[in-house]
Amino acid sequence: MSETYEHVAPARYRISGKGRVNDLAPVRFTFDGREIVAAAGDTVASALLAHGIHLVGRSFKYHRPRGVVTAGSEEPNALIRVTHSAKGGEGRTEPNTRATMQEAVEGLKVESQNRWPSLSFDALSLNDRLSRVLGAGFYYKTFKWPRSFWDKVYEPAIRAAAGLGRAPTEDDPDHYSSRYAFCDILVVGAGPAGLAAAMAAAGDGRRVILADESGEPGGSLLAMPAATIDGKPAWVWLAETLETLAAAGVTILLRTTAIAYDHENMVGLVERVTDHLATAPADLPRERFWRVRAGRVVLAQGAIEKPLVFDGNDRPGVMLAGAAQTYLNRYGVAVGRHVAVATSHDSAWHTAFALTDAGVTVAMIADTRAQVAPALTAAAAERGIAVMLSTVPVATQGTKRIKGVWLAERTGDTVAEAGYHACDALLMSGGWTPAVSLFSHTKGKLAWDAATGRFLPDTSPEACHTAGAGAGVWGLADALASGAEAGAAAAGTTAPSFTVTGDDAGTGAPEGALPSDRPARKAFVDFQNDVTAKDIRLAVTEGMRSIEHIKRYTTTGMATDQGKLSNINGLMIAAEALGKTPPEVGLTTFRPPYTPTTFAALAGPRRGATFEVTRKTVIDPWAEAAGAVFEPVALWRRARYFPKGVETMDEAVARECRTTRKTAGIFDASTLGKIEVVGPDAAEFLNRMYTNPMLKLGVGKCRYALMLGDDGFIRDDGVIARVAEDRFHVTTTTGGAPRVLATMEDYLQTEWPDLKVWLTSTTEEWATIAINGPKAREILKPFIKDADISAEAFPHMSMLECSFAGVPCRLFRVSFTGELGFEVNVGAAEGRKVWELIVGAGEKVGACVYGTETMHVLRAEKGYIIVGQETDGTVTPQDAGLSWALGKTKADFVGMRALKRPDMAKADRKQLVGLFTEDPGTVLEEGAQIVEGPDEPLPMTMLGHVTSSYMSATLGRSIAMAVVSGGHARMGETLYVPMDDGVIAATVTSTVFFDPEGARLNG
């Protein structure tokens, strides 16, 4: 791909002796393959402008050529794709980076976006010609018929054409960090107001943080070298002030954007740590997200200049006057040679003067106002600049760069015939909008100032102060004073005062869309989303009344710049079209983040392996060494199955199931939740918490335990063992342990505070090893010397405290497989040793180890439910076939009363049943819906769904459980499961598929 650039000599627009960049320290980067020599201190935007390059991208919808408009984070047009060549990698590539914020870095690869095949020739610029049919809401009006085109034709085509940059195709290899900070005063913005606030606040050990999004503090001072403060040139004062602040212990964070202002003075700051470095130490994060809790916050973010709205206001070379002043004075770059100025605010006059003084020709200053301060016209006359009052721009000429502007004299809303004026840059200013986004995050109220056409910060529920241009204060002297005042108020100090010369204070007049002598089709309001004044008027014509609807219909303010340039212009135009005042129409809501923020910054270290904690049992390393395949269960990593050789999961599970039923299987059940319930009222407490009667549970006995919510629905289940009169060992589901403990604490603390009970989570204190199968006792017996574990002395649902090969043990005779079963509980520290002893003994008799998958199959063969799989928060004990677990004579238990509500006994409730597919080899899909008849017309009545489904090696066929409306009364009925590739017939059965008498439990 080759690009042609017209007559661009290296850095032809750099004005030596101007600016703060160092052109003795060249920095080389590429733009669409062409080498650009920047000066140290440049941004990509200032370096491109120094080379006379204004065209940097194509617009979103119409693919119009676009150039740099601003010099800051509000930039809507100059979005680039950047790759740090020294750091390398597609994964480090970032799309939609603002060229005005990306500092020039040696080796940086910059590419323009949204153009094909090239920036200067773009195929989709055809859209620009089609703009008549692509106006506001065009996608709601077109692409409607035929319906079959929706997903096959329209959506792919629209998706291919939509969007700005191209996302990187590889993972981001950088790391991102996250930090909490606390301070007494946080100052956002290090312009004159922010610096003055920090000066007033610093000292006496107060913790002050000063954050600025630029690579250099100073804000507007960087563009005002001619001013003096306290008798010193502005830049000398700035350097000294920064030294003073540092000496006073102020933390100054650069390249740090305050993106969100949350409750109680919690402010989120994103610090870009390495983007300005060609190479970065590996231990530095790319970005750091600060969560700062501040005692008080001073918002001194300044103001954002508004564009004027006229036809062709988006051509490359049309830019904001304030930006041009920044490029001149901070970066030493003239944005053109023959410049026109169109403004409604005094500030652009000062830009014109500064450009003239730097040797740039300013053809004229056209001001929309009939009158301006005599000092301005006098200063213009001194410099030989033509002044045209009551004059508006009505159109521009030039495709990839502005060539000229038509200016016309206005009388109110009408204009005289326009005259053409050649120029290579047009600087515009529609006045300044205070940056109130962060203030608005606080739910702060804004007040409309009709005279200046601005919303100003009014009251906020947070302990925050606003200062400077962001508070509507204009001019250096007033900004310093208001900053000092805010800082002093925040810190309880006395505000310092400043003496200023060379101030550029001034005023302006608010304008909406400017009057024109022609149909203004391309008067852009929102550059990034290609929304014109016409689109906004059309939205009103078509019935949109609320500004929120106008916004969504036209997409104005919905681009990544969130309407920083466009909101007020859009509002003025909408208000005029609606015949209302701007405050009556109101602003749309400002939401965080203030500027586009990487997901990685928000995620910080919480990604990949460190996304969340992985809990492992003490037996986990053994399982890993044994080649187990793992699965996540809640936060736990559990062994799912133990394949031998080349076994598939199905083969391994079938073998584990068969071995367990025939011989024995050994299972790590340590993840089971465990709660030690102790105290004189422990039995009474458990009797109330669980459905089952617990008062008469004997010491050394276990009982299945079902926990409901007070709404009567199943919440958890487990086994309760009475260790002593006043001590119970309670187990919960693996995922439910914290929730069950919290529920128990809730009832104990707030419903029955009179009960003397102590609850302790003991999940991780115990390693739990389940041995199931006909040979379970044979495996276990040699290790238990101090207790009789024979069938007679230690029957099903018993527990005892004993010694397992010298290790203190709580031994349970319980079963989740339907086989003779034991659970060995030993201290976690001994778990691995005990596991290996049991596995060693097991192997001698032909037993195997098994994982969670086999556990699931074996329990399903017995119809044992898993809470959360068979239940979903709407299943009662009766629905689940667990009525036997309800204590019939209890005065109360959690959930008892709700079970008596008529709805809980309705015959058509979804009840748990078993399903046998007609074809024994078909395994139903869990979650599949169940219907009555295969030929039922659409929409079919969903009777329920499959909750568990497995191939049972024991039964030699598939089994499933399902919740089905009125299921208990449907035994023997055939129901149907419609799937993509056909309808599966299944017969309703009992949920107990194997050993219904339970004889094997008593082996």
Binding site: D262, E264, M266, R291, D710, D746, T750, A898, R901
Partner: protein, 95 residues
């Protein structure tokens, strides 16, 4: 992230240390009550615009449940008090 004062720890701490536990002063009735009364206990909540008495648990601290008055408009906790204490009278409450 709002700040909450734990009345047991007597410290004002970030919301992340706490879990919400529903409206406060909802009394669990005796099981002998009517279906309607039990339904109301289960499902009917006041959902006010303004001060709301609610329960929080200092889950990552002392583990205690306590009550808070939070303004649902400003999302600020106006006051907190221990479980079992009666709801404080706030300025503007109808006596």
């Amino acid at each position: 992230m709002i700040l909450i004062h734990c009345p047991y720890c007597d410290e004002t701490l970030p919301e992340a240390e706490f879990t919400y536990a529903g409206e406060a002063h909802v009394v669990r009735p005796d099981p002998s009550v009517s279906d309607e009364t039990w339904r109301d206990f289960l499902y009917i909540r006041s959902n006010p615009k303004g001060p709301h008495a609610e329960r929080w648990r200092h889950a990552h601290g002392c583990g205690r449940y306590f009550n808070a008055i939070r303004d649902t408009v400003s999302d600020r906790v106006l006051t907190t008090y221990k479980a079992g204490e009666s709801k404080p009278v706030l300025p503007g409450d109808v006596k």
